[in-house]
């Protein structure tokens, strides 16, 4: 996802929070305490944390639905606190849970509100409404005149996003926008947000309590603790590989390694070309000789376009007259586009290793469990050494105990790597039927521990 958004046109602007604090009268502790962070232009930054940690309050201070008690907020270099708050909000897209659509307005009227407030003429508004409905995947002729109650939850959420984008604001604030829809619809909406973002390059501040959602959507994730203090602010890869402290580790949950696998694709890792391949036209005796020379017992039969067909064992060859019908068909294969999580699923189903195919379905190599665990161990080492080099200055309150904790893990990287490999195997073994379902289960147990 990082690579998706970097090559898109960036229309967003940078947001900076400096020492932003919100203190409600009558309460001793501030709701948000001294938050300083930079939200880079054109990126999705996810604020994630337990309920009541002040993540929504932090977000609502950006468009001043809540006025900060102290601190400075700049949006694209402009001091947000100097501007008229109502005008400021017209330049910031806002989408919330359950969409918050106006039930007495049609879909088109809902989307047209902000352009109307900005005084666009009717024709321009009508064109923009159609354009946006197309953008969020709703057929304009079918849905334009419907009322929100005539839409499904997912459709309402799409309209909510379209309304937020209506006046093409550089910044979008999204407060658990997909919290109230079913998991399948949520997945689709997330995919579409990523697709939209690849084209639009907005600066998006996204609030959620679902760490998996944060990992999927975020270019960067800010894990917030009590009073919105930033525990760790980094890329999803770095947070999964090296949680800054126990609170982050607890929030990441038990399935960290599995979640990491969703971020990596097979093409990103070194997979060995292990298998001995043979064309179906080859004679069995010739293949047996080649296997003997290579000291191998299995060969992969491929068709003319080198697409994997069947596995043959050296034992099958002695009696066979042709390679045409012998051997065991190849089951699950993974493509170079697949995530490592899909690859792991195929490896488990295939009994230790899986065939990797290229863009046209041709054989390109094999991937096995060691490759996967090796990649995880390497990632962890990379991020740990980066952390040791003082990268913790990303706004993380790197107090003494946390740093010591981190070093402790670093000293024992080998053991930790093995332990994680086990966890991955256990985790995947549990689900067996579907890797996606397993990620959900892992997330659930993770939420439980935090």
């Amino acid at each position: 996802m990082t690579s998706d958004s970097t090559d898109s046109a960036v229309s967003g602007v940078e947001i900076q929070l400096e020492g932003v604090t919100k203190r409600y009268p009558g309460s001793a502790e501030p709701a948000v305490k001294d938050v300083t962070m930079t939200i880079p232009a054109g990126q999705i930054v996810v604020l994630v944390g337990p309920s009541g940690c002040g993540k929504t309050t932090t977000m609502r201070m950006i468009n001043r639905l809540i006025e900060p008690t102290s601190g400075r907020i700049t949006i694209g270099g402009e001091d947000a606190l100097e501007l008229d708050d109502v005008r400021l909000r017209r330049k910031i897209g806002y989408a919330i849970q359950q969409a918050g659509l106006f039930p007495h307005f049609t879909v088109a009227q809902n989307i047209a509100v902000v352009p109307g407030l900005l005084g666009w003429d009717k024709k321009r508004i009508a064109e923009r409404v159609d354009e946006l409905m197309d953008l969020v995947g709703l057929d304009a002729s079918q849905f334009r005149d419907r009322y929100p109650r005539q839409l499904s939850g997912g459709q309402q959420q799409r309209v909510g996003v379209a309304r937020a984008l209506a006046a093409d604001p550089p910044v979008l604030l999204m407060d658990e926008p997909f919290g109230a829809v079913d998991p399948i619809t949520r997945g689709n909406l997330q995919d579409e947000l990523l697709r939209l973002q690849a084209d639009l390059g907005k600066t998006i501040v996204f609030v959620t309590h679902d760490f998996d959602e944060a990992v999927k959507l975020g270019d960067r994730i800010a894990v917030l603790g009590e009073a919105s203090t930033i525990q760790q602010y980094d890329t999803p890869e770095a947070i999964l590989a090296n949680p800054a402290n126990d609170m982050v580790a607890g929030f990441v949950g038990a399935g960290a390694s599995l979640k990491q696998l969703t971020l990596l694709r097979v093409r990103d890792v070194d997979y060995p070309d292990l298998a001995l391949t043979a064309d179906v036209g080859e004679s069995p005796s010739e293949l047996r000789a080649r296997l003997a020379r290579a000291g191998d017992t299995y060969a992969l039969l491929v068709d003319r376009r080198r697409r994997p067909q069947r596995w043959v064992h050296v034992r099958n060859l002695s009696a066979a007259t042709s390679l045409a019908n012998i051997g065991r068909p190849v089951g699950d294969t993974v493509s170079t586009q697949s995530t490592l999580q899909d690859a792991l699923e195929a490896i488990l189903a295939e009994g230790g290793r899986a065939v990797v195919t290229g863009t046209r379905g041709e054989y390109v190599g094999m991937i096995d469990i060691e490759t996967v665990t090796g990649v995880l161990a390497q990632l962890r080492e990379e991020h740990e050494s980066a952390g040791d080099a003082g990268d913790a200055g990303d706004g993380v309150d790197g107090d003494g105990t946390d740093a010591a904790d981190g070093d402790g893990h670093g000293g024992d990287a080998g053991r930790a790597g093995v332990a994680r490999g086990d966890a991955a195997r256990d985790g995947a073994g549990r689900a067996d039927g579907g890797v996606d379902g397993d990620a959900g289960a892992a997330a659930d147990s993770g939420a439980g521990t935090s």
């Binding site: 639905l65 017209r90 897209g93 359950q98 918050g100 659509l101 039930p103 902000v114 407030l117």
Partner: protein, 215 residues
């Protein structure tokens, strides 16, 4: 003389009185609606304010209409003024209460979204909150109108306009010629007018409540 002969005979006067009756009730309702909505808007955000406003309006309703009119006559004299004041006071309760209930019932997510996308305070109130509370406000006005149709009859005691005069004079002349016809004509007129206004409300709701929130 049968009732129908009586009505045909006195049609001009009855029609005028009917018109005055309806006009008095409708104007009082509208005045009460303006006041009630203003009061509702002023207090709906505060639970205490809402309780006080509803409580006061309820107290007014417990005062017998005869007594209230009697109390108003020394202040406003006889004629339409005390009648209209009394009617407006009675109509306040259903309208104020329904305005408060309607505004408080607006989904907070919707007002939050309205503010969040850049509507000012007044726009949120007029374009979102009052539009969404409108069916409740209209229902309050409808109840108020029905109630006032009856109370306006009593207002004839303070020499208010309308069909009340017919009813009162019919009752006081009980036993003499056409006394029953007169009282009956007045009473039936009120019932018929109330039904007509009910129909009017149906059409007002039909044309002013968005299809998106119609029950």
């Amino acid at each position: 003389m049968t009732l129908f002969d009586y009505i045909a005979d006195r049609w001009d006067r009855l029609a005028l009185q009917s018109w005055l009756h309806v006009s008095e009730v409708v104007q009082s309702t509208l005045l009460a609606a303006v006041l009630g909505v203003l009061i509702g808007v002023a207090v709906y955000r505060s639970p205490v304010g809402s309780a006080v406003a509803t409580g006061l309006a309820s107290t007014i309703l417990t005062i017998p209409s005869f007594a209230l009119l009697g109390l108003l006559i020394p202040v406003f004299g006889l004629g339409p003024t005390p009648a209209v004041v009394a009617l407006v006071l009675y109509a306040l309760l259903p309208i104020t209460r329904n305005t408060i209930v309607g505004l408080a019932g607006v989904d907070p997510a919707v007002t939050d979204a309205a503010k969040g996308i850049g509507m000012g305070r007044l726009a949120v109130l007029t374009r979102v909150e009052l539009r969404l509370a409108w069916p409740a406000i209209l229902a309050g006005m409808r109840v108020a109108t029905q109630m006032l149709m009856g109370i306006a009859v009593i207002a004839a005691y303070a020499k208010g306009p309308g069909l009340g005069g017919e009813v009162f004079s019919g009752l006081t002349r009980a036993g003499s010629a056409n006394a029953t016809n007169q009282a009956l004509a007045g009473t039936l007129g009120v019932v018929v007018l109330a039904l007509l206004l009910e129909g009017v409300y149906f059409f007002i709701a039909r044309f002013t409540v968005s299809r998106g929130i119609r029950g």
